[in-house]
């Protein structure tokens, strides 16, 4: 079978219900999409629309109630992680007892990569993330942006083919966020991972993604899908000034606004 013909990630009829107290909450309902190899897709939707739930199911952290998922045509089995899939959490999950270099090298350590190679690859990542000089610092002495860069590198260093990111820059200020977008886009340009990126920041989604999948308010369903045909390579600073960006922004903003109103009413 041709490598390019098959989707990298495929999700069919995915659903998740949580039991909460006595009642059942449908967090995600009948979600289907597929993502090409090397595609950058953003999942956009209001808070509580089930974006994290979808991501966690693909990452094998959560068991779906309905439906099935495939990566490279192989069924995703709950609680059986593959190192091919990298994950970056919204919350800072750097290990506080490891230095920056030790955090970044953790995945390589688990994979049994020899020390010399490990150090070389970590050094490369440290340089890419602009963390030179902080290799031996502990996370408690880093800024939020630096921590998130280190966390991103910890996922990147093992060279995953798929990158799942759950609002990785949600807690950062606008300026730091744009910095991070540049770092991420450079890495993605070079390594061409397949990225599924959760966010509720439309600007961020437009800057980064090839395609935006818009989620409706609970229960999470796919409302609409938008191709982002902005030229690459993109400049995170200049891009928002282009007319095409503004056009896409207002179109999606309108659709998103409807969901926010619905979410508030529910």
């Amino acid at each position: 079978m041709s490598e390019t013909g098959r989707p990298k990630i495929e999700v069919r009829g995915l659903g998740k219900s949580f039991r909460f107290g006595g009642s059942t909450i449908d967090a995600v309902d009948d979600v289907s999409f597929s993502i090409r190899r090397g595609e950058f897709v953003a999942l956009l939707g209001p808070s509580g629309s089930g974006k994290s739930t979808v991501l966690n199911m693909i990452a094998t952290l959560l068991e779906p109630s309905r439906g099935e998922m495939f990566i490279d045509g192989n069924r995703v089995i709950p609680h059986r992680a593959t190192p091919d899939v990298g994950y970056v959490f919204q919350r800072d999950t750097l290990f506080p007892w490891r230095t920056v270099a030790e955090n970044i090298g953790y995945g390589l350590e688990l994979a049994g990569v020899p020390k010399a190679e490990r150090e070389a690859r970590v050094a490369e990542c440290v340089a890419q993330a602009g963390l030179k000089g902080f290799e031996t610092a502990y996370p408690s002495s880093l800024s939020g942006g630096m921590r998130q860069r280190a966390a991103l590198m910890r996922a990147i260093v093992v060279r995953p083919q798929v990158l799942l990111m759950d609002e990785p820059f949600g807690a950062l200020d606008t300026h730091t966020k744009i910095d991070m977008h540049d770092v991420l886009l450079k890495i993605w340009d070079r390594e061409q991972q397949t990225v599924l990126f959760v966010t509720h920041d439309l600007g961020e989604a437009l800057t980064l993604a090839d395609r935006i999948i818009l989620f409706s308010a609970r229960p999470g369903r796919i409302k609409e899908s938008f191709e982002v045909d902005l030229p690459r390579p993109r400049d995170a600073v200049k891009l928002p000034e282009t007319p095409r960006y503004a056009e896409l922004f207002s179109r999606i903003w309108h659709s998103l606004g409807e969901e926010f109103v619905k979410g508030r009413a529910a």
Partner: protein, 286 residues
């Protein structure tokens, strides 16, 4: 600022010692004005304590003459008085160390196992609560009865008081490990064993160390109480002997030695903690 504090600390020590040494004399000179506190019969006084220290440590004879090192008088004294201060200290320290070690390691392992396994903790929870509600030091006579007056019974007594303390701390720590850390490790391909070693143990360390300083005092308490009940040697035994002879000075020597031992052991633990938990913000500042 630090020198300033040290100055005050020295002054407080000097004042305390002076009052302790001469306070009672003042009372005898002017009984109407100075209250009848600090009776040397009960609390001794610094000069007597020093004298007693020199005798108990075989440095001086009971006549108040220095025991020579080269003429063998010191050696003879050490053999004659089996429970001299050095021997007592050695025995007490040794049993405290082993009791502490046994208590900390078994408490830590148990805490990790039960903290990470919902099944195990569900089964054992009631038993642990039950045993924990016994004031464990009350078991000391039973332990001495069972294990004899040798060192084993002291190690067991101190183990039993330490193990629960460490267990409960580790248990709480292991249960409260951030799920985000565990998920991160799992998604990077860590096995259960690797997760335990690289995530659960390091993040439980803070909780373990919080229990170590009290654990060292508990270990010492366990040993001393064990020695009160029945022992051939040890600081606790020294206290009992002095009490039988009505010698407050001897008891004070033992108490002061215990205080110094306690301070030194706590300082050691603090150093170890500052190294192992160096990633915590408050250790990085200095």
């Amino acid at each position: 600022m630090k020198g300033h504090a040290l100055g005050w600390q020295m002054l407080i020590c000097v004042v305390l010692l002076v009052v302790w040494q001469w306070g009672y004399d003042l009372h005898e000179m002017a009984p109407d004005f100075v209250p009848d506190l600090l009776d040397p019969y009960f609390v001794s006084r610094p000069s007597d304590i020093m004298k007693q220290f020199l005798i108990l440590s075989c440095l001086k004879s009971k006549m108040g003459l220095w025991n020579g090192w080269f003429d063998g008088q010191f050696g003879a004294c050490m053999t004659k008085y089996e429970n001299n201060l050095w021997m007592a200290m050695w025995v007490t320290l040794k049993t405290t160390f082993f009791g502490f070690l046994a208590g900390v390691s078994s408490g830590f392992v148990l805490g990790l196992a039960l903290g990470r396994s919902a099944k195990l903790s569900a089964v054992f929870q009631p038993f642990i609560t039950a045993v924990n509600s016994i004031p464990r030091i009350a078991l000391a006579p039973l332990i001495v009865l069972a294990f004899g007056i040798g060192e084993t019974s002291k190690i067991v007594t101190s183990w039993i008081v330490v193990v629960f303390l460490v267990f409960f701390n580790t248990f709480e720590g292991a249960r409260s490990v951030d799920e985000g850390f565990i998920n991160t490790a799992r998604l990077l391909g860590a096995s259960e064993w690797k997760i335990t070693r690289t995530v659960i143990i390091p993040s439980t360390m803070t909780w373990l160390f919080a229990s170590l300083t009290p654990a060292i005092s508990f270990a010492l308490i366990g040993v001393i109480v064990g020695e009160f009940i029945g022992a051939e040697r040890g600081i606790g035994r020294l206290i009992i002997e002095s009490e039988a002879r009505g010698e407050a000075a001897g008891m004070m020597v033992a108490v002061i030695v215990l205080m110094i031992v306690g301070v030194v052991l706590s300082a050691l633990i603090w150093r170890l903690q500052a190294y192992l938990l160096r990633w915590q913000a408050h250790y990085q500042r200095n």
